[in-house]
């Protein structure tokens, strides 16, 4: 299969990669870059476990070919924590017990991050809309909403 040269920035680090023409961004992240924080739950764009941020947009990385995002800036769950510590969203997820098994968590965090990046003071309805593509079978969502609200407040300060 033909290989393509692409260059992507993931969590601030630049990567020159050879990818297959049909290689999904999810596989590039998990298999080539060994960043397994991004999860695969359905492979068809229904669960949101694979959500990452591509150029400020939350996308399902199982539906995106890496070749399509050549030159893009990508943020994954691994990019949230910084030298100054956990991101307010991560802290809020911990504080509000918004985590059970944790399999949906990376995708939830990415969808929430994309929301807060564009709308720092979302309403409950806006939070729901931003997270409607992210399934969680464990938490019943309430504590996730609480966490996003808390992060928005803290972040705003």
């Amino acid at each position: 299969m033909a290989k393509l040269d692409v260059e992507i920035t993931v969590n601030g680090a630049r990567h020159k990669l050879e990818v297959g023409s049909q290689e999904r961004l999810l596989d590039t992240l998990r298999e080539q870059l060994k960043m397994t924080g991004t999860k695969e739950g359905c492979s068809v764009g229904e669960c949101g476990a694979c959500t990452v941020i591509v150029d400020d947009q939350a996308v399902n990385s199982c539906l995106v070919l890496t070749a399509q995002v050549d030159g893009s800036e990508i943020i994954t769950v691994e990019g949230l924590e910084s030298k100054s510590g956990l991101h307010p969203l991560q802290k809020a997820f911990i504080e509000k017990q918004a985590i059970q098994c944790g399999f949906c968590t990376p995708g939830m965090l990415m969808s929430a991050l994309a929301l807060l990046n564009t709308n720092p003071t979302p309403t409950k309805e806006e939070i729901k809309t931003a997270l409607e593509g992210n399934l969680c079978r464990c938490t019943g969502y309430q504590q996730i909403i609480d966490a996003v609200e808390m992060a928005a407040e803290e972040w705003g300060v």
Binding site: T36, E81, I94, I99, C101, C104, R137, C138, G140, Q143
Partner: protein
């Protein structure tokens, strides 16, 4: 009692790994030289295997081996009945049975090899309904069995004939429930590594019950348990689901790892997971109930028929729980219950959160509302006249006296939380327009832990290191529910150390004693007691040593916040110095904990005895709006009050309630795995819808605490009770709103509108 760590919403100990993406789940594991394997599954629900042609597949690039049932040392396994095939041998019994497996350098190569395999089948007629399967003359499905019955549990109390003769009103009703997919967000994944650290095979992955999986792998390989090591990794949800299906996967990978001498990884796609995993049992329920005109129940006669699918799996125990809970939490003098499970050629059914209770509660709590309407009583009133109170005797003859029977309390608190009385009155009146509101409730009692299913005991190990850090090991497994946190809290509480000093270690079957399975909402209750036991043993040693050293009486000393205090509040030593010194003087600073449940009893012939040593009580209330023009059903509010004995971690308990209520909502109004002639229609989340964040009602969790004499710090169970009540509460609310009584789940659009399902797979 004032607690330091227990009864507090402390943060999850595994949260950091999970919010940073560092937590490794099954599919994230990699080992040097690792191979990948895939399984070819049949599309036929019932067929003879005539011929399997694998030569072409074997020659494909990267392929290291192609294997069939002939390569499996012992092809049958099962927790209760050993009838499940690792790979189908002569016959496939359900669509989704694995037939051939291929292992290759990459997953794509393994998948490509499967394409080249040819299997010749002779299709057989199938049986797809347990009501057909039970008939005399029905096609027999399992070789060596002269009928298709998996199990029959009878229960007899009093004399139902007499009871019905005393009744002024008798109702007979039928209810049905559907196949449900667990829908854990992480598809199954395992890696098996051969010949690692003196183990023939090490199994890593998303495994709900490491000991059950070890049993299965050792049985399949025909090797001793000590040769098989199972290490649990982070597991992306299970809800009862990652037991037999993962054991089969682990056994297959183990066979291939030994054949190739290399680590073998297997990861299911979502479609593979839907196709092969077991489901929640659909039930066909027939209820007959008698009551006096004053609303006193006189008799109940119940038949519940469960579809076991192709294998027995956990059907014998699932249906047993149904027997105990079938009458609901009501005093009835005369009871006759028969619960059955039958083989069919449908997907097989097994454990799923609730385990045989959601089905019977849907029927029995719907029936109570139907009876109330018939008697002209309010639903709450009918329940109050019959429900268990302190000292009541259950259908199996157990007197409820060892713990607090708190049905009235949970019901009252749930009603207050949602303003039930006012809403009930308001919605009982005339409502103009198509949109009608209604409110409905359901209550339950639930036996905690395994009950008479199996020996109920668990182990733990606690080690205090030289620097005072504490390592905790449990024989029960984190499934996402928060076990690591709860157990760490219990250890920290007893030892008087900060949570930061406690490290919970991953379960490794070679180190921690077999504690049975992490099922039946038993972890906090049974496993928590085992942790407490180990911690108390160590504390005893520490106190004896300190009393001697400082010349105090043990009662005068206290361990708190990582220090030893005398009675006057003076610090005598740090925990680290004290325990370090003990270690240096040769005192054993680790301890095994063990807890065995109080005695229980069960007479299987009569269905009598004390099946569980304690119970929890719950009440859920649903407020709905039904559009009688379109059938659209909107659950607006729900209240869920649960007596948990003591909430070790109230935030965690709330999480269990929110999650359980939403899973119950899915069960009640949206989820149904459509199975047509044994074949699942739609194997991903676009066909099978689970609740999203947009489906959330406003949920009010109410934690009720009546400490149990046998629970650690009084704690009991919460995982399963949270999802067993919702469907009946919603059905009752729909009936209240629209006047339409729906007796089949789910209560979806078409059922709400026209009273039956439109599509073929629905009942």
């Amino acid at each position: 009692m004032a607690f330091k760590h227990v009864n507090k919403g402390v943060r999850r100990v595994d949260a950091y790994e999970k919010v940073t993406g560092k937590a490794k789940f099954g599919a994230d594991l990699e080992f040097a030289n690792m191979l990948h394997a895939k399984v070819l599954r049949t599309e036929y629900p019932h067929a003879e295997i005539k011929k399997i042609e694998t030569a072409a597949a074997e020659g494909m690039p990267g392929v290291k081996g192609v294997f069939t049932a002939q390569d499996i040392p012992n092809n049958l396994f099962g927790v209760i009945v050993q009838d499940q095939q690792v790979l189908a041998d002569k016959k496939v019994l359900l669509a989704g049975d694995g037939v051939v497996m291929a292992v290759a350098e990459t997953e794509a190569q393994a998948a490509a090899a499967l394409e080249k395999i040819e299997v010749e089948y002779k299709e057989l007629e199938g049986v797809f309904d347990p009501l057909e399967s039970r008939k005399e003359g029905a096609l027999k499905l399992h070789p060596g069995k002269d009928d298709n019955q998996v199990i029959h549990h009878p229960l007899r109390k009093g004399d139902v004939e007499k009871g019905f003769a005393e009744a002024d009103v008798i109702l007979e009703r039928e209810y049905t429930t559907q196949f449900i997919e667990h829908s854990y967000l992480e598809p199954e994944a395992v890696v098996v590594v051969p010949n690692e650290e003196n183990h023939l095979v090490s199994v890593y992955g998303s495994i709900q019950n490491p000991y059950a999986t070890r049993n299965a792998v050792s049985a399949v390989l025909e090797v001793e348990l000590a040769e098989v090591r199972v290490i649990q990794n982070h597991i992306g949800g299970s809800f009862g689901g990652k037991d037999e299906v993962v054991s089969a996967m682990a056994a297959r990978a183990a066979v291939m790892a030994l054949k190739t001498g290399r680590p073998v990884k297997m990861v299911n796609s979502r479609e593979e997971s839907f196709t092969e995993s077991y489901k929640r049992h659909p039930y066909h329920l027939t209820y007959k109930i008698g009551a006096t005109k004053e609303g006193k129940l006189t008799a109940m006669e119940i038949e519940a028929v469960a579809d076991s699918g192709g294998y027995a799996c956990q059907t014998p125990f699932v249906t047993w729980r149904s027997v105990v809970q079938a009458t609901g939490p009501y005093e009835v003098e005369n009871v006759k219950t028969d619960t059955y499970g039958y083989y069919t050629n449908n997907p097989y059914t097994g454990a799923m959160r609730g385990y045989g209770s959601p089905q019977v509660i849907f029927a029995q709590e719907s029936l109570m509302d139907e009876l109330a309407a018939e008697l002209g009583l309010e639903p709450v009133e009918l329940r109050k006249r019959n429900m268990y109170s302190q000292g009541s005797v259950t259908a199996s003859g157990q007197k409820l006296e060892r713990h607090t029977v708190s049905l009235n309390e949970v019901m009252t608190k749930a009603m207050e939380a949602i303003d039930y009385k006012k809403k009930y009155e308001e919605y009982s009146g005339e409502q103009p327009g198509d949109k009608k509101k209604g409110i409905g409730l359901s209550i339950s009692f639930r036996g905690c832990s395994l009950g008479a299913e199996a020996i109920d005991a668990a182990a733990s190990v606690i080690q205090i290191n030289k620097d005072g850090s504490v390592a905790v090991y449990s024989g029960l497994a984190e499934n996402g529910q928060g076990l690591k946190t709860i157990f760490s809290q219990i250890a920290a509480e007893v030892l008087g150390v900060p949570m930061s000093e406690v490290e919970f270690k991953e379960l490794d079957t070679s180190f921690t004693p077999d504690s049975g399975s992490t099922v039946a909402s038993r972890a906090t209750l049974i496993g928590g007691n085992a942790i407490k036991d180990a911690a108390e043993k160590l504390k005893g040693r520490i106190m004896d040593f300190a009393a001697d050293k400082y010349d105090f009486k043990v009662e005068q000393l206290e361990l708190k916040d990582g220090f030893l205090y005398d009675g006057q509040g003076n610090r005598l030593a740090t925990f680290a110095d004290l325990t370090g010194e003990m270690g240096n003087t040769g005192i054993l600073m680790s301890a095994y904990g063990w807890y065995k449940s109080p005695p229980i009893s069960w007479d299987e012939e009569k269905g009598s005895g004390n099946p569980y040593f304690t119970y929890v009580y719950g009440c859920q209330i649903a407020e709905v709006e039904v559009d009688t023009g379109t059938g659209e059903l909107n659950v607006i509010n729900m209240a869920a009050a649960h007596d948990v004995g003591r909430a070790i971690n109230p935030e965690n308990v709330k999480g269990q309630i929110y999650g359980g209520v939403m899973m119950g909502l899915g069960y009640g109004i949206m989820e149904e795995l459509e199975v047509r002639d044994g074949v699942i229609q739609g194997t991903n989340f676009h066909d099978y819808m689970i609740p999203t964040i947009q489906d959330m009602p406003d949920i009010k969790p109410v934690i009720v605490e009546n400490p149990d004499p046998d629970g650690p710090f009084g704690a009991k169970s919460i995982g399963e009770p949270t999802l067993e009540l919702g469907s009946a509460a919603i059905a009752n609310a729909v009936a209240h709103a629209s006047g339409r009584r729906i007796r089949s789940l789910p209560l979806n659009l078409e059922r709400v509108l026209i009273g039956r399902a439109l599509h073929k797979g629905g009942k």
